[in-house]
Symmetry: C2
Subunit: 273 residues, 2 copies
């Protein structure tokens, strides 16, 4: 294992590019290989067995690049596949997005009442709820699916009246506590698409709510992990390799917004898993 080895980042599609962007900001000298399984998305509606099988295939494809660290930048894959992937790719640290997000939420919350917004599948699976309560048994978790945010992020409608009214639609019932009810003081963005909408989400939740962006917290956790092992790149200029299993054009077009830099379609290599 060398500090010059690349970091692998895996997601079912473009959402994980928000995690990649945070990683590039935190670790600008690193080489990254990102794989989006665009041919088989979405993972959230598939059975856990299928998601584990897909995650293992993706992890093995990325492991061929000689990784020093693998990030599962996909909530569904993190929730159901982290253990299986860690078992398979034994010699490198495998990091999911859920544990860092849960950790940050438990640190940020004073009252212990934590709200989580995520996709329907992530909420139903209960991984954030479990990870939070495991760390803080006094926690109360209000988890709400906010599926439309995914479509808004992919359409590039992250600001303006539509995004604002969708944010109010999901967040007002969560944060407008009725008389006597408790109001969460922390909100976890439990889907990799949601950091795209952080601004309207923040406005709808209110200024006194701590927002935990799991892309940010995961990137910080990856940096700490590498630094603690003396595995962080010291001299590199950083680079980025983008792989997808289908639809390179769409990946480039939508992914560019997520990564906040243009992606040219020919930059995206098609791979089979």
């Amino acid at each position: 294992m060398s500090p010059d080895a690349p970091i692998g980042v895996f997601d079912s599609g473009v959402g994980g590019l928000t995690v990649l962007k945070a990683l590039v900001t935190q670790l600008p000298r690193e080489r990254f290989v990102y794989l989006g399984d665009t041919a088989r998305l979405p993972y959230g509606t598939k059975s856990p067995q299928t998601v584990v099988r897909y995650a293992l295939q993706a992890a093995e494809a990325l492991a061929d690049y000689g990784l020093k660290c693998l990030v599962l930048a996909c909530n569904t894959a993190s929730a159901v596949g982290l253990a299986a992937v860690s078992e398979r790719i034994r010699d490198v640290p495998v990091i999911g997005v859920i544990e860092p997000g849960a950790e940050a939420a438990c640190l940020a919350s004073r009252s212990g009442h934590i709200a989580v917004i995520a996709t329907e599948g992530t909420v139903r699976g209960g991984a954030y709820q479990d990870a939070i309560v495991r760390r803080r048994s006094d926690a109360r978790v209000s988890a709400v699916p906010a599926q439309l945010f995914v479509a808004l992020a992919e359409e590039g409608l992250c600001r303006g009246p539509i995004a604002e009214s969708v944010a109010r639609h999901y967040l007002e019932p969560l944060f407008n506590a009725r008389a006597g009810g408790s109001r969460p003081d922390t909100l976890v963005l439990g889907c990799t698409h949601f950091p795209m909408l952080a601004e309207v989400i923040r406005a709808a939740a209110g200024p006194d709510v701590s927002i935990v962006d799991s892309a940010e917290t995961t990137a910080r956790y990856v940096r700490q992990t590498l630094e603690s092992r003396n595995f962080a790149a010291r001299h590199g200029e950083g680079s980025l390799r983008l792989l997808a299993t289908d639809a390179a054009d769409r990946f480039a077009r939508i992914g560019g917004r997520f990564l906040e830099r243009p992606i040219r379609p020919h930059e995206v290599e098609l791979v089979d898993l």
Copy 2:
């Protein structure tokens, strides 16, 4: 072939239930078997070869019920798979949603300027554009992807300020012709989810625009096809059998809104393709 045989209806998920609802209204005496390939949706982002393979598998599974007619209630499957499925299921009429919608639009339009809203995949594939121009060479087609409508329909947000502002977002640029520009006089709802939002779409397009609902037009075309062959059921009370390849709970919950009657999860039979 007997008039008492059932009609098969196939879609990648719940969207085709709007077509099924229109069919049940037009043909209340018929027995229907609906198959939603919920395990492998969405089809719109998959390669044509894959969609054809899936559509053939679904068609064969439905053919085992001894059909008298098969409806491809899925725009993507209709666009790329109709010929292959007709070839495979030779002894029964196979009807897609695109040709009836294109036919109705050509009849409804005076000016020949026809707008189509659909998913990204359907617009890119150009099947409506081709089917319209094949019937009416003077036609001018403005096709626009309106992806958010899918998420709104599945979330049950078909009315109210969010749905209204999304409808304006997509339709105002289409129907607010600049000085000298021509304005479509007909709008095709080219996605099976969109009839759910017909009210807000109509309001945003304006009262002088003819709306072609491809669920309605397909159901009418199926009735005509059966009647012209003397294949319509005469004495039955009608029945409905619902099959899905995954997630019966979600199918029941969301599908109930599309079908406009509650679906109990145990009514949905899981099948493997």
